[in-house]
């Protein structure tokens, strides 16, 4: 989850009054922040990715002001009519078809706000832009460039400019190959014959979206006027990013001026900071929240969340919410705003009235009966991961991999496949505990996963039980007794222990447990080669049974 660190001095300026650490820790959790770390003069908070407008001090401050009752209702955003034009060349249509832009005038930055601006940009790249794929932002010093601007595409070696942070000119191909950002984001453009480029009236390069800006338009603490560009593959993502960014810059004191964006077939004026409107049924909100708020009370709750509403029918409100609230998709999102405005801390917990009869799942009932018997037999339960690796799962126990369920993106080589049996894990447990006292008798009742193409997910989860007994006198007889004690106490009848071969067990000391023609599992003395593979020194006997076969 994204994080923002709020220093109380600077944050107080945005709120417009002195804010203490206590104010922050008291109120912020009830707006949806997680307190990550509380310092002497700062609070580090996590915010949810849907509220991307919390990526700036301004964004947090305007919400907190509403919540604390310092300001209420919609924040007003005035946008001036466009003086600047941006032309979208058809050449970008197949690479990065959308661009919107805005102008910010008379903004006053300091070093802190430059850092914040960069962090905001990164949060938006991640949160809305999906790591620059759907949308990416460029912020430029407007005073060094001349409109109209043009978003175009050029052949990789046909344009050169000094990328941000470098001293010399590089062509677009070189940037992808040599610049850090080029290496990180080249996959977004390197497949196209021409790469996107944003230039001014004289051909000066503003940026190479979505890779890197030009050094020419670098923004620093002395920059007063900004040109904002957002390019991307999703119009909504581009528009939403621009809305959130413009609103934050307006809150930082800038004057927002629109830009006329000329596509080949239409002209769009951006950013659009007009509030959006959606209807809310007061009764719907009350029903979900468990409240009985009047229309007026509901409006008050919404106003605390920086929204406004007017009554348009009996129990129906038309809610206006700020343009940056791109998370509002459905009426139900407004219901949550009412809840937050009312205060989650004021919602008294109640118990659902429905009377129902509970029941455990039959598989878990069987699992627990099995556990009870195994514990009664004196065995200790272990719990292993269902993820394992081929070396341990097949090679060590002398088995051949068969229909292995393999991960596409394992986190380590140790956990790359799903287990099909419990026994290798138990043997591994013995290896890990060689220094502990013997006898060691362990069991596990848990899941294995096997391929079954009849199922939607192509894989079947099966409940198994396995046990090992390891000590200087462990043998077939002991484990056979354990196994038969389990079967008898699970109310099984007519099972047979048949001679059977199994690579993991010693020949002549291994057997299959069967009912008629169905094989439930195996038991026997572990083959000395397997013991050597696991580095075990004591004789070990074991069994494993598929419990699903016992379910009626």
């Amino acid at each position: 989850m994204p994080v923002i660190t709020l220093y109380k001095e600077r944050f107080s300026k945005f709120v417009g009054r002195k804010i203490t650490i206590e104010d922050m820790t008291k109120h912020l959790p009830w707006i949806g922040f997680d307190l990550e770390e509380i310092g002497e003069d700062y609070v580090k908070v996590e915010y949810n990715p849907n509220r991307i407008d919390f990526c700036s001090y301004a964004g947090v401050a305007r919400t907190l002001k509403g919540f604390m009752g310092l300001e209420k209702g919609l924040p007003a955003y005035v946008t001036k009519e466009p003086e600047t034009t941006l032309i979208i060349d058809k050449a970008v249509a197949n690479i990065r078809p959308f661009m919107l832009a805005g102008v910010v005038r008379n903004i006053k930055f300091d070093d802190d706000s430059i850092v914040e601006l960069m962090e905001m940009q990164e949060d938006l790249h991640w949160g809305i832009g999906r790591d620059r794929k759907k949308a990416s932002i460029g912020i430029h010093n407007l005073d060094v460039i001349k409109p109209p601007f043009k978003f175009t595409a050029v052949e990789p070696t046909k344009a050169k400019f000094v990328p941000l942070g470098k001293n010399e000119k590089m062509d677009l191909k070189e940037i992808l190959e040599k610049h850090e950002k080029g290496a990180a984001y080249r996959h977004l453009v390197d497949w196209a014959p021409k790469y996107p480029l944003l230039i001014d009236k004289d051909g000066a390069v503003l940026s190479m979206p979505p890779i890197i800006n030009g050094e020419l338009t670098r923004v620093d603490a002395n920059t007063r006027n900004l040109f904002l560009d957002v390019t991307g593959t999703s119009y909504d993502a581009v528009e939403n990013s621009l809305k959130v960014l413009s609103a934050a810059l307006a809150d930082m004191g800038g004057t927002i001026e629109k830009v006329a964006v000329k596509y080949s077939d239409r002209t769009v004026v951006s950013p659009n900071l007009n509030p959006e409107k959606m209807k809310l049924n007061v009764n719907y909100a009350n029903r979900l929240l468990g409240l009985e708020l009047s229309d007026v009370e509901t409006v008050k709750c919404l106003q605390k969340c920086r929204m406004d509403a007017r009554k348009v029918g009996k129990g129906v409100l038309e809610v206006s919410f700020p343009a940056y609230r791109i998370d509002i998709l459905h009426e139900v999102d407004l219901v949550e705003e009412v809840g937050i405005g009312y205060g989650y801390n004021r919602l008294k917990p109640t118990i659902p009235a429905a009377v129902t009869v509970g029941e455990q799942h039959p598989t878990h009932r069987l699992a627990n009966s099995t556990r009870q018997i195994m514990i009664g037999l004196g065995l200790l339960e272990v719990m292993n991961f269902t993820l394992t690796n081929e070396r341990l799962h097949y090679k060590f126990v002398r088995m051949k991999p068969e229909k292995t369920i393999r991960l596409a993106n394992p986190v380590s080589t140790e956990y790359s496949i799903m287990r099909q049996a419990l026994l290798p894990g138990l043997l591994n447990n013995l290896t890990e505990n060689k220094h502990e006292s013997f006898p060691q008798r362990l069991f596990e009742v848990s899941d294995v996963v096997k391929v079954d193409k009849k199922l939607e997910a192509m894989c079947e989860r099966r409940l198994h039980v396995a046990a090992v007994s390891s000590h200087s006198m462990a043998n077939f007889t002991e484990v056979k007794s354990l196994c038969e004690a389990l079967l008898a106490n699970l109310a099984l009848k007519n099972w047979q222990i048949k001679e059977a071969r199994h690579p993991t067990f010693l020949e002549g000391r291994s057997a299959a447990v069967c009912i008629k023609d169905r094989c439930l599992g195996v038991l026997g003395e572990i083959h000395p080669q397997v013991l050597n593979n696991f580095g075990l020194e004591n004789p070990t006997a074991a069994f494993e049974i598929d419990l699903e076969l016992l379910m009626k």
Binding site: P29, L289, G290, R406, L407
Partner: protein, 502 residues
């Protein structure tokens, strides 16, 4: 009746066999016990009045070099007397001394003693020595001879006369003398009686046997009392794994609250794991870095067209729900990809697709996966506590009450519900529990009411209260752990030592 411990009985009996009174050495020999044990036991027997301890002094005397020389040649006065007799009973001191071959410094000693013993007398005017009597062998000479023969004697063993003679030789500095205390044990009447009692009880038994019980012989034997404070060998019971105990407790609570348990597959299609829960196909949680995808088998099958089409529409444009949707082209192929389920909510939504009639209260405490490195706070596999309540008029407050009840039953009394965000619930909250040891609020459970975009494609009309929280975090609080790996490390030392959860 006096109770005797094994060693006490052995010691007493050895003492009796040795004639009722004997030395430590003899007791050690007779009883077969180590010397320290004999000494310890004898002292406790003394405390009980069964044994008397006599302390005897043994003084050993032995001739020194001068003594040995005298024993060989005779005492100086004897040698002087013999010389005098050779000179016919009377002679000048000078002549006698010469005849006796006495060293110069011995002459005054010899002269002193010969007169003291009244064997001779010195006429100081003429300086001549005159024999007075025959001079039989004196007691000092006899002891000198004895000492010379035996090498050493125990003074206390000598008769009175001999002891006086020893004192004389001691004064004449002819002896080396060493004193030592020797303990002698003597059985008392009470000791004999105690031993007798024993003898009458016939036999002492350590292990009660079936034979003793059946033959009632146990009535005639003495069952030895054990030192109940002595440490015994450790044994370890068969036990449920501590994490399993927490799982069972969580299950019990929901069963007590009238919930029915559900169970679903570990491998799921992305459709049930994400799409059915209104998680857009480009959502970061669906990326490879968060979710395990399968390489083989790679894809699964989608459910009925009805459900698939409505889910697709909800993503693209909100379908009939009034939602804006996510505004993108939904892909069947993306939905068919197989994943290790990232939450049990996949099972819950599947259950809702098949069970629509309220009231519904179901839960699961089951295994889920996230693509995480194994660290002290993360594992790739863990358990989720999941549940839903579906009914006509259930509310967010009911959800809070259900969760509060659950955590209270777990012994966590201080709960708060903070606003939160999940793609498939609205309103959403997170259950925060105050951790008294860490002195901070920790998040235990995400919760909310399923969005209409989630319920509508499944044909559910009522609100669905849903929650999903980590079990391991709860287990770590309960078990006092700060490293989650302990729960899956299966360290025998820890499993054997950890008591059952209360």
């Amino acid at each position: 009746m006096v109770d005797l411990r094994v060693n006490e009985r052995k010691t007493l009996s050895a003492l009796e066999k040795s004639g009722g009174k004997t030395s430590v050495e003899q007791l050690i020999h007779e009883s077969g016990l180590p010397d320290a044990a004999v000494m310890r036991t004898a002292l406790t027997l003394q405390e009980k009045g069964l044994v008397k301890v006599h302390e005897e002094k043994k003084t050993r005397a032995k001739l020194n070099d001068e003594g040995k020389a005298h024993a060989k040649k005779g005492l100086p006065e004897r040698r002087l007397l013999s010389a005098l007799k050779k000179l016919r009973g009377k002679a000048s001191l000078e002549n006698v001394a010469e005849e006796a071959d006495l060293e110069k410094n011995s002459i005054p000693i010899a002269l002193g003693w010969i007169q003291k013993k009244k064997w001779a007398v010195l006429d100081t005017k003429t300086n001549t020595l005159q024999v007075l009597e025959r001079a039989e062998e004196g007691k000092d000479e006899r002891i000198l001879r004895l000492l010379n023969e035996k090498g050493q004697v125990v003074v206390e063993d000598l008769n009175k006369e001999q002891q006086e003679a020893i004192q004389v030789l001691k004064r004449r500095k002819l002896l080396n003398i060493k004193g030592k205390i020797k303990r002698i044990f003597e059985i008392t009447d009470a000791g004999l009686a105690a031993l007798r009692e024993r003898k009458e009880a016939i036999e002492e038994v350590t292990q009660l046997t079936p034979e003793l019980i059946m033959t009632r012989k146990w009535q005639r034997v003495k069952l030895i009392k054990f030192d109940v404070t002595a440490p015994g060998p450790s044994v370890y019971p068969g036990k449920m794994h501590p994490l399993q105990q927490i799982i069972q407790r969580a299950r019990e609570i929901f069963l007590e609250l009238g919930f029915t348990e559900i169970r679903g597959p570990l491998v799921e299609t992305a459709f049930w794991n994400f799409d059915a829960l209104f998680q857009p196909q480009d959502h970061p949680a669906r990326e490879m870095m968060d979710t395990f995808y399968l390489a083989s088998p790679k894809t699964g099958k989608l459910p009925s067209k009805n459900i698939v089409n409505s889910v697709a529409s909800v993503h693209e444009n909100g379908w009939v729900t009034g939602s804006k949707g996510w505004g993108y082209d939904w892909s069947h192929d993306e939905a068919k990809r197989l994943v290790l389920r990232t939450h049990t909510t996949a099972e819950t939504i599947k259950y809702l697709a098949e069970h629509k009639k309220p009231p519904i209260k179901v839960f699961s405490v089951d295994r889920v996966y996230r693509n995480e490195q194994l660290t002290y706070k993360n594992t790739a596999e863990f358990h989720q506590i999941e549940g839903i309540v579906v009914d006509e008029n259930v509310t967010l407050r009911d959800l809070m009450g259900t969760m509060k009840t659950f955590y209270t039953k777990f012994g966590l009394k201080k709960t708060e519900f903070w606003p939160c965000y999940f793609p498939y619930t609205e309103p959403s909250a997170q259950a925060m529990v105050y951790h008294p040891k860490l002195k901070r609020w920790i998040e235990l459970c995400g919760m909310g009411i399923f969005r209409p975009e989630v319920t509508a494609p499944m044909g559910i009309k009522c609100p669905v209260l849903a929650w999903g929280g980590g079990l391991e975090r709860l287990a770590m609080i309960e078990l006092g752990l700060d490293d989650i790996r302990m729960l899956y490390g299966n360290r025998l030392e820890w499993l054997r030592r950890t008591p059952l959860c209360q």
